[in-house]
Amino acid sequence: MLHAESLACARGERVVLRDISLTLTPGKLLGVLGANGAGKTSLLATLAGEIPAHGGSLQLDGRALHAYSTAELARRRAVLPQSPSLSFDLGVREVVAMGAYPFGNLPASRLETLIARVLALADATVLSTRRYLALSGGEQQRVQFARVLLQTLAARAEDEYRVLMLDEPTASLDPRHQVQLLQGVARIAREEGVASLLVLHDVNLAAQWCDRLMLLTRGACVAQGTPREVLTPENLETVYGLPAQVIPHPAQADTPLVLFASRVEA
């Protein structure tokens, strides 16, 4: 499992993360919430092994994360960064198939099956014959999502522990595709035992789909737990600096519904 214990991280002189402890459990979704610049993306980059941790311990299956090679890591965790940029002319299938690169030469039939499955999960099947650059921003996002899904699902051993990390995956999606994306993540978490970490801005979407939430402020963890435990008016005001009401969701029991104040106090 991916396990962080009092993790700290600095970019240059600036400390961006302090004393973060978390575990990414197989089959569970952990949502990370916080204001702009709270350290969400830095947390994801550190957990992905992209930037080094400066304190605490970070282990994948009991072995220090930095002891893994780039290629080994790519077979255990997939990352969807914020706003990917691809300005060269590639077909949608070619982009999605890149998710299989860490696994060398997959048999063609297996690759085809996987591509069909992830395209369906990302609701991108109709896009499969298009050119990537001809797609809208939201469609491109879904294709990139399909690519990291493929990277997660192409692992060789069935029960191997794998992590999926998504940085604001719903940012450019319409409401239907936001729900569909989270539904897809929840589904492969359940079916394949994938551990997921999602950086999200929509508090209610996070409350609805994530098993656990972590609230970040200025690089530190304010609260961690189930949505009901974590989403309190006090915590939300600390994190976002905006008064909030929390009421029970009218349609879903056990899910809190957050209503933010409609204006900022001067």
């Binding site: 992209e50 060269f88 002319d89 590639l90 998710g99 109709v126 001809a134």
Partner: protein
């Protein structure tokens, strides 16, 4: 699965262009190359009639046939093979550089390979060297030194933009030193210098091709083997890393392979511009940017364009010849302008 919404189900027919399959394109280019190579080998100051090609060997005693055979084997064929080798090498390294910098306007010259090589050659000439046996190694060393300097200084800070800027700076320094040398050169040396500045395939001979051809082939194969990494780079540097490609090592390897590929080409053919820029572009326009196919097709395309340019260089001012760099720049310049205006439209 829910059925797709009607709006999405409408096929993007007007946007979809019909593309030949990659294998078809590769085959077409190879056929064209073969035809062009034959045409180029037959024409020049001495015209060798292609219709009688088979006769050249059937009548070994005929003096006319022997003469033609000699011209064909010792002058024309090495020249055509040289054009193919140089063109494919320059084109593939351009394609790879464009992926590395994630910029369609990159070319091998950007990291100092070309001007460094020219500086080495020009320096050797002005300091008195006359034989290619000294000038060519000097050019090779020059290109490796310039690339090495650009690479070392450009990777002190992370990010590929610094490498590009270091390349620009190194190129500027090389150009200014070349200027100093040119200013000091004698008239005879000046004529020699134009060869390095504009490129020429006049130095073609079998003994040089015997090592250059396998060398270019080997490095091309090594670069093609990296097609997955190059595709991943198109997604972005972080994305390539997430897909398991150690970025520093990958960049290191690609720069070294390109320098080893282009350095010798500059050493024997001078600086030939625009092939590395124009050919990968044309291939991307017809075939897309998937390096699995882009690289092999670029090899064939580079060979084709260079053979054509060499043919023109020899035909336009026959029996003399133009420096081939003039031809490639003459085609490449307008092409680049077209590309720039097209992008805005």
């Amino acid at each position: 699965m829910r059925s797709p919404s009607p709006a999405l189900a409408v096929p993007a027919a007007p946007r979809a262009r019909r593309r030949p399959s990659p294998l078809q394109l590769l085959l077409i280019l190879c056929l064209l190359l073969a035809a062009l190579a034959l045409a180029s080998a037959s024409s020049g100051a001495v015209r060798i009639p292609l219709a009688h090609l088979a006769d050249l060997w059937r009548t070994p005693a005929d003096p006319q046939a022997a003469f033609w055979r000699n011209v064909l084997l010792e002058v024309r064929l090495p020249r055509v093979v040289f054009a193919i080798v140089v063109g494919s090498g320059l084109a593939i390294s351009g394609a790879v550089m464009q992926a590395l910098f994630r910029n369609p306007l990159a070319e091998p010259g950007l990291i100092g390979v070309s001007l460094g090589g020219a500086l080495g050659a020009v320096g050797a000439i002005v300091l008195g060297a006359q034989s290619l046996a000294i000038i060519a190694p000097a050019a090779f060393v020059g290109s490796l030194l310039a690339t090495g300097a650009a690479y070392r200084l450009g990777t002190v800070q992370p990010g590929v933009a610094n490498l590009l800027l270091a390349g620009v700076a190194i190129n500027a320094i090389c150009a200014s030193v070349i200027g100093v040398f040119t200013y000091q050169a004698t008239d005879v040396q000046l004529r020699n210098l134009t060869f390095w500045n504009m490129g020429s395939l006049a130095g073609a001979n079998w003994s040089m091709l015997a090592w250059l051809t396998p060398w270019v082939l080997l490095l091309s194969i090594l670069l093609i083997r990296d097609w997955r990494a190059l595709n991943a780079l198109l997604l972005g540097e972080r994305e390539a890393q997430h897909l398991g490609f150690a970025l520093r090592r990958l960049r290191h390897r690609i720069v070294i392979l390109c320098a080893l590929l282009v350095g010798p080409l500059v050493a024997v053919a001078g600086t030939i511009s625009f092939i590395g820029l124009v050919v990968p572009h044309l291939v991307r326009l017809t075939q897309g940017a998937d390096h699995r196919w882009l690289l092999p097709i670029t090899l064939a395309g580079g060979a084709l364009v260079m053979t054509l340019a060499d043919w023109l260089a020899r035909m336009i001012v026959m029996p003399a010849e133009l420096p081939i760099g003039i031809i490639t720049a003459f085609i490449g310049g307008p092409f680049l302008l077209w590309l720039l205006t097209r992008r805005q439209g």
